[in-house]
């Protein structure tokens, strides 16, 4: 019953307004109507506060042959959530939601630890973990597209049971010590290629491939059309079932990527607490990035900015010396402010108060 008005598409910014020809005011108007302005302003605000409270926040130096500093750290820590959030953006674009991503990460971690104990080749294990993510995505997609179950409940099933499945996998080999070492996986997760942490390169490659898929192929158009109006899309000849199924496959695969990174980072499988609340962070990132749960739009760039806003907040709370307990409250307050600013009713109310005061 509550649908958010979708932000204008990038292809058609507000330059259609008559006043926006070359006049500075028009350009200004076009700028503040651009969909990325609000999330970017939120990010800028967080970073400015950082710069004020901890001088040297933006320093980047080279330690042990790799880049080091708060800004790098934000990207580094944001990467797993960013993967999940990109998949979430695709699913939300089809008017769906994927609550099971945390459980998928737990299952992938358990499978990695289990196969490590069985002594499989590490490359095969990597493929197995990704395949597990795809299998989970297939399950979700099957429920949503074939059985036509509402996405929020369809993915709730795996969310509720997934961490239990991870625990069961741990029990397959006794489960007493699920820790492991793997040069390949840890190289992907915590290693670095030259100056740059490997996971950032992995993230950038995945982002680019996904961007190509969503923005440069007909399939990307189908994804948004199914989310915008499933019925019309079907009538226009789009195979809505296949498109929906693939959205959940993408989400499952990206969650598995995050699962590999997170599991290799901690060297162990901990199905109960790994990536707890990651689905919530990912959904928030999509919404901060301008996505609407009503579907029809996929903003990959906005989603990344949304993840960075959330991570920058966390990092700045840690560096500012505030107790980490404040993290959640500050996050909630910032999210609320961003949401309220994005609401057109709220903006109109604020503007009318300001105008009245001037008059």
């Amino acid at each position: 019953m509550n649908t958010q008005t979708p932000s204008p598409k990038p292809e058609q910014p507000a330059t259609r307004l008559p006043s926006s020809g070359g006049a500075p005011a028009g350009r200004w108007l076009a700028l503040i109507r651009h969909r990325l302005v609000w999330p970017l302003m939120a990010l800028a605000l967080v970073l400015i506060v950082d710069a004020l409270i901890s001088p040297g926040f933006f320093n980047v130096r080279i330690v042990q042959g790799r880049l080091f500093g708060n800004v790098i750290d934000i990207f580094y820590r944001a990467m797993p959530t960013a993967m999940v959030a990109l998949g979430m953006a695709v699913v939300i674009g089809t008017k769906g939601i994927d609550l099971s991503v945390g459980s998928i990460i737990a299952i992938c971690g358990a499978i990695i630890a289990w196969r490590m104990h069985q002594g499989d080749s590490h490359f095969v294990i990597l493929l197995m973990a990704l395949a597990a993510g795809l299998a989970c995505g297939l399950w979700n997609g099957f429920l949503v597209s074939v059985l036509e179950i509402q996405p929020i409940i369809a993915t709730l099933i795996l969310m509720v049971s997934g961490r239990g499945i991870g625990l069961m996998v741990n029990l397959l080999y006794g489960g007493t010590n699920p820790s492991f070492t793997s040069p390949l996986l840890q190289g992907l997760s915590v290693g670095s290629l030259g100056l740059i942490p490997t996971r950032l390169i992995v993230g950038a490659v995945i982002f680019f491939l996904l961007w190509l898929l969503v923005r440069r192929t007909a399939f990307g158009l189908f994804l948004e059309s199914v989310g915008g109006n499933a019925k019309s899309a079907r009538l226009a000849g789009v195979n809505a079932r296949f498109v929906l199924l693939s959205a959940y496959l993408i989400s499952g695969f990206l969650a598995a990527t995050a699962g590999v990174i997170l599991t290799a980072d901690t060297h162990t499988s901990d199905p109960v607490s790994v990536a707890s609340n990651i689905e919530l962070d990912a959904i928030l990132a999509v919404v901060i990035g301008g996505g609407s749960l009503a579907g029809g739009r996929i903003f990959l760039d906005g989603t990344i900015i949304g993840v960075l806003v959330i991570q920058a907040l966390t990092t700045s709370i840690l560096t500012s010396g505030l107790p980490p307990e404040y993290n959640l409250v500050v996050k909630a307050v910032v999210v609320l402010i961003v949401l309220l600013l994005q609401s057109s009713n709220m903006r109109a109310a604020v503007v009318s108060v300001l105008v009245r005061r001037k008059a």
Partner: protein
């Protein structure tokens, strides 16, 4: 029998089958003792789930339930340490729940933000507030809490209906009256069934939305009070994930997440089914706790698919 009672009947049937199966598998299972314990141990979740039922029938969702339970407990424990009587702090916290829920309702209606997102922010806010107040469990030492947990009614057959369970049953009775015998109750069903039509028919949308979330907040705060009494402590991590349990109880109880269809009474059985599964697995003894999660998910799956085919495609939901 009318079609709309079908999901409720199936829910009650599944509960009976599970209960009888437990009785056949384990000696001493088939008793009022087990029933009383399931009611008492799950009272706080069921109370919260009753509030969630209204929210879900209206087509919305409330993710802040678990955090509210934790927050209420932490504040009550601290007020107890400051010398407040629980009977003073409890109504205050329930009022807080109503006010907080109303605020959430105002934001949902005025800012046109999806309930999922705003209640998610509320989840973070309340949980964060718990951590800011204190990080450890704080005991509630007031003698009233002990008296409360000693209160109850004995059932025939050695069972015991604890005070938590009684509070829950009273809350359920009130909710049933609200849902089926008040104008507001009809408005909730109307908004969830078809919001544009409800609006055209003169249902006050803003007032209804605010009341729905205020009611949800009231019930989750009441659940928090019961949980604080039940554990006689306040713990900042208490209630984590209870919003999911509440939603699961509502779905198992036969309420459709698409809104407009469902019964408050079904939620009682949905919550009891979840409690029954945990009890069965505990009775078995050799099964791992992970089975509780997996069995819960499996049961959700069966119910959801069943709703989809039995109910979802029938006359009263032709939209999809």
């Amino acid at each position: 029998m009318s079609e709309k009672y079908l999901p409720l009947t199936v829910t009650i049937g599944v509960f009976c089958i599970l209960f009888v199966a437990g009785g056949l598998l384990y000696p001493n299972f088939f008793s009022t003792l087990v029933i009383g314990n399931i009611l008492g141990d799950n009272a706080f979740v069921i109370i919260a789930a009753i509030g969630t039922t209204f929210v879900i029938i209206s087509g919305g969702i409330d993710l802040s339930v678990g955090s509210m339970i934790g927050f209420v407990g932490v504040v009550m424990a601290n007020l107890d340490a400051a010398g407040w009587h629980p009977l003073v702090s409890a109504p205050m916290m329930i009022l807080f729940g109503a006010g907080f829920g109303a605020l959430v309702g105002v934001i949902i209606d005025f800012c046109e933000i999806q309930p999922f997102i705003i209640t998610l922010a509320a989840l973070f806010l309340l949980r964060g507030a718990c951590f800011m107040i204190n990080l450890d469990a704080v005991p509630i030492r007031h003698p009233f809490v002990l008296e409360f947990s000693d209160m109850g009614i004995s059932l025939p057959g050695g069972g015991w209906l604890s005070s938590s369970a009684i509070v829950m049953l009273v809350a359920l009775a009130v909710a049933i009256v609200i849902a089926h015998w008040t104008e507001f109750g009809s408005a909730v069903y109307a908004v969830g069934g078809d919001a544009p039509s409800a609006k055209l028919m003169g249902v006050p949308m803003r007032k209804t939305t605010i009341k729905i979330y205020a009611l949800g907040g009231t019930y989750s705060a009441l659940g928090g009070v019961v949980y604080a009494f039940y554990t006689s402590s306040g713990y900042p991590l208490a209630g984590t994930g209870n919003e999911l349990q509440a939603i699961a109880a509502v779905v198992l109880g036969g309420t459709l997440l698409t809104g407009g269809v469902g019964f408050v009474a079904g939620t009682l059985f949905g919550g009891m089914i979840l409690g029954l599964i945990a009890t069965l697995i505990n009775f078995n003894g050799s099964l791992n706790g992970a089975w509780i999660m997996i069995a819960g998910g499996l049961l959700l799956f069966i119910f959801i698919v069943m709703h989809r085919f039995l109910v979802g495609s029938f006359k009263f939901r032709t939209g999809s």
